[in-house]
């Protein structure tokens, strides 16, 4: 018998037809639109850069609002447009909390069409955001965080580490200082994981170069009075006192070294992580003679100085290496888009890996397969008060640390992208 229900079900028929139409449409659209979105043009008629930094906490002065200004300057200098489309900035405070950083980044990517995220001081935040952004194929250009994990164990196809890492800082400083005659080292070490690994890293380099570690003292974290440790360092006969600590411990140690005339009596202090803003807040009376590694000295040449003075006019302080790094990262990101005619992340990342980076911040920098931006670093020394010609004239370049000495070579990288 003719059974209407089984031979003609309007519902099923409609669905089948719909599905077929859908497939045809989808295939057609993919064929038509696919090449367009992957190769040329911008995904949403603009390029939007996210500056995610510590705007209120302990890292505020070294990156923070200054990073937003640096990014603005990069966009202005680029002409405000790329591929004839506007460029804009969005910024937020990650409050040094990985969860806040990650949720902000997620919102930016999902709802605000952010194309690239930069700044990201604070290693914990940086790792969280880099992981999340890479899952969504968004490039991160980290200028602020230190951890080597960004380009080693936790490297991603879209994560770029731009200014410095915890390998470059101590290794750079130690290498340069040993070569300049600082062969005997004594460490004042913050007594927890961070301090011990800094000391270990640095000792390895010192010994490799024929230097010697004559002693060390583990100072409890948050020590107020370093004088006792400093006297031990002084009587050890070391050429260099390595400060394997950070933040207030470093400031306290340097300040008290000055009270006891350590530097004046011939020993050198080596800080493992110091920013120009730290030196400025200590004052040269106290900081003089302190040597450390940095990626940027604002008055090293005319080009840097010219840019830095423009930055100063807007920000009221000279740029730190990470703020200058934001300018460079944004500039080169835009250059890459301009060169290939698209903001597609895969294409831009490929282009960034192939081009040489050149601007006021970096000369002949290159971005390796693991995301590390390989560039020269500088060993600097805080000037004596009499040598300083103005308020922010604080640092003298002692020597250049070639990129291949400062950073972990690609052949030794633990990043899984490298061996592919």
């Amino acid at each position: 018998m003719f059974n209407l229900k089984t031979t003609f079900n309007p519902k099923t028929a409609f669905n089948q037809r719909n599905l077929l139409t859908g497939i045809v449409t989808a295939v057609g659209l993919t064929l038509a639109a696919g090449p367009l979105s992957a190769q040329e043009g911008l995904s949403d008629d603009k390029v939007r850069i996210g500056v995610l930094s510590d705007m209120s906490g302990v890292y505020k002065s070294l990156e923070g609002p200054g990073a937003v200004i640096a990014a603005e300057m990069a966009i202005e200098d680029f002409g405000g447009k790329v591929l004839d489309k506007p460029i804009d900035i969005i910024s937020a405070d990650h409050q040094n909390k990985p969860d806040i950083g990650a949720s902000t980044a997620r919102e930016w990517i999902d709802a605000e069409q952010v194309d690239m995220i930069t700044a990201l001081d604070n290693s914990a935040v940086a790792l969280a955001v880099q992981g999340l952004a890479s899952d969504k194929k968004i490039i991160t250009m980290d200028t602020g965080a230190g951890t080597t994990a960004l380009t080693e164990e936790q490297c991603t196809p879209y994560g770029i580490h731009y200014v410095y890492d915890t390998h470059a800082l101590p290794v750079g400083t130690a290498t340069a200082m040993v070569k300049n005659g600082g062969e005997k080292w004594f460490f004042i070490t913050a007594d927890y994981a961070f301090g011990h690994s800094l000391q270990q890293n640095t000792s390895d380099v010192v010994k490799e170069l024929g230097g010697e570690v004559v002693g060390n003292v583990n100072a409890p974290l948050g020590t107020n009075d370093f004088s006792s440790y400093l006297l031990q360092a002084q009587s050890s006969g070391a050429d260099v006192i390595g400060l394997a600590n950070a933040g207030q411990d470093t400031v306290n140690a340097i300040k008290q070294a000055n009270q006891f005339r350590i530097v004046q009596s011939g020993q050198k202090l080596a800080g493992m992580l110091v920013f120009i803003t730290d030196v400025q807040s200590m004052g040269l009376d106290i900081a003089q003679g302190l040597q450390f590694t940095t990626a940027f000295v604002w008055n090293q040449d005319d080009e840097k100085e010219k840019w830095s003075r423009r930055f100063f006019d807007r920000h009221g302080a000279m740029p730190t290496m990470v703020q200058a790094g934001v300018y460079s990262a944004v500039t080169n990101y835009l250059k890459a888009i301009d060169a290939i005619g698209t903001d597609d992340s895969d294409a831009v990342r490929k282009q960034l890996g192939e081009m040489k980076l050149n601007d006021m911040f970096v000369k002949d920098g290159e971005i390796l397969a693991n995301g590390l931006m390989l560039h020269d670093m500088y060993l600097v020394e805080a000037k004596k008060p009499g040598e300083s010609s103005e308020e922010w004239d604080l640092l003298r370049v002692v020597s250049k640390i070639p990129a291949e000495d400062a950073y972990i070579p690609l052949s030794e990288s633990k990043c899984e992208l490298v061996n592919k």
Binding site: G57, V58, K60, S61, D191, V217, N218, A219, P220, G222, T223, N224, D225, S227, S228, Y229, L231, Q232, G247, Q248, V251, N252, K255, Q256, Q259, F260, R261, S265, S281, M282, G283, I286
Partner: protein, 292 residues
């Protein structure tokens, strides 16, 4: 020898702070947990007086270091008096623990306020007088003049305080008021006023220690919190309420800590607590305390 002198340098700060605590506890029976905050406040008021009056309040006046030695303790002492009058006064009838909790709360509020405005990495105090800026050659070591000044100045203040309380009429009245308040009041002495002033004086001592510490250490919102626990241990070792005990154990423990920094540095931050445990086991009232 050099290390002992450095230990003494730390010791005078312990002594001054624990002296204030001991005075307040001995005479008022209040465990003043806000003592560390008062010390921090002393350093900050000196810093603000030296650098920020103009920026913040439009007052073109710079309070130098010497003036700070007077002005800052007065200010901190006054704040102590306000706290005593408005808050602590209501708690005298209750258990010690209420006073402790209240002063702990005050500490957290003050620390929070200051770490909000100044970042936690510490600010240098630029007002150290020129005359104390040098270094003295003591034969066996070079010692910063300022640190020597801080040692001598603190010792004078400590022993003057001890002398006033133990050997003057004012001191004997104070002690009498504490021993038997109704009887003392019957003799016509204003005991509540004495209590208020004593609390203010204890806070002023902490503020003074803060001023003295500012040129040596960085001025930071957490400087009091770092110290207060150690200072409590010092008071316990010296004997709660014993003035001389607080001074002597403060000095001695500073030196013990200094020597530990040479012999076995990782123990430097815990050696005092180790001693505290020993003292509590064998002399529960402390080295100089009286058993009640």
């Amino acid at each position: 020898m050099a290390q002992a002198l450095l230990g003494l340098n730390v010791g005078v700060f312990y002594a001054m702070l624990s002296l204030g605590l001991a005075v307040i506890f001995g005479l008022l029976n209040i465990i003043n947990f806000a003592h560390g905050a008062m010390y921090m406040l002393g350093a900050f008021v000196a810093l603000i007086g030296y650098t920020m009056l103009d920026d913040w309040f439009g007052i073109s006046l710079q309070i130098g270091f010497w003036a700070s030695l007077i002005v800052v303790p007065a200010f901190v002492g006054l704040l102590g008096i306000v706290i005593e009058r408005t808050m602590l006064k209501r708690l005298y009838e209750l258990d010690h623990i209420y006073g402790l909790l209240l002063t702990f709360g005050i500490t957290l509020i003050l620390q929070g306020l200051f770490s909000n405005y100044f970042n936690v990495s510490g600010t240098p105090y630029p007002g150290q007088p020129e005359i104390l800026a040098g270094v003295l050659n003591l034969g066996f070591m070079y010692f910063p003049t300022y640190r020597l000044f801080a040692i001598v100045f603190s010792l004078v203040v400590c022993f003057a305080t001890w002398y006033v309380i133990e050997h003057t009429r004012l001191g004997s009245r104070l002690r009498a008021g504490v021993e038997n308040s109704p009887l003392t009041q019957a003799f016509g002495l204003n005991v509540p006023l004495m209590i208020t002033l004593t609390f203010g004086f204890g806070c002023a001592l902490a503020g003074l220690a803060g001023v003295l510490a500012a040129p040596i250490y960085s001025v930071s919102p957490l400087m009091g919190a770092d110290l207060i626990i150690v200072v409590f241990a010092v008071v316990v070792i010296g004997g709660m309420g014993s003035i001389m005990g607080a001074i002597l154990s403060g000095l001695a423990l500073g030196m013990v800590e200094g020597l530990t920094k040479v012999i076995y540095p990782p123990a430097a931050s815990t050696v005092i607590f180790f001693l505290m445990v020993l003292v509590l086991l064998f002399r529960p009232a402390g080295l100089f305390g009286k058993e009640k």
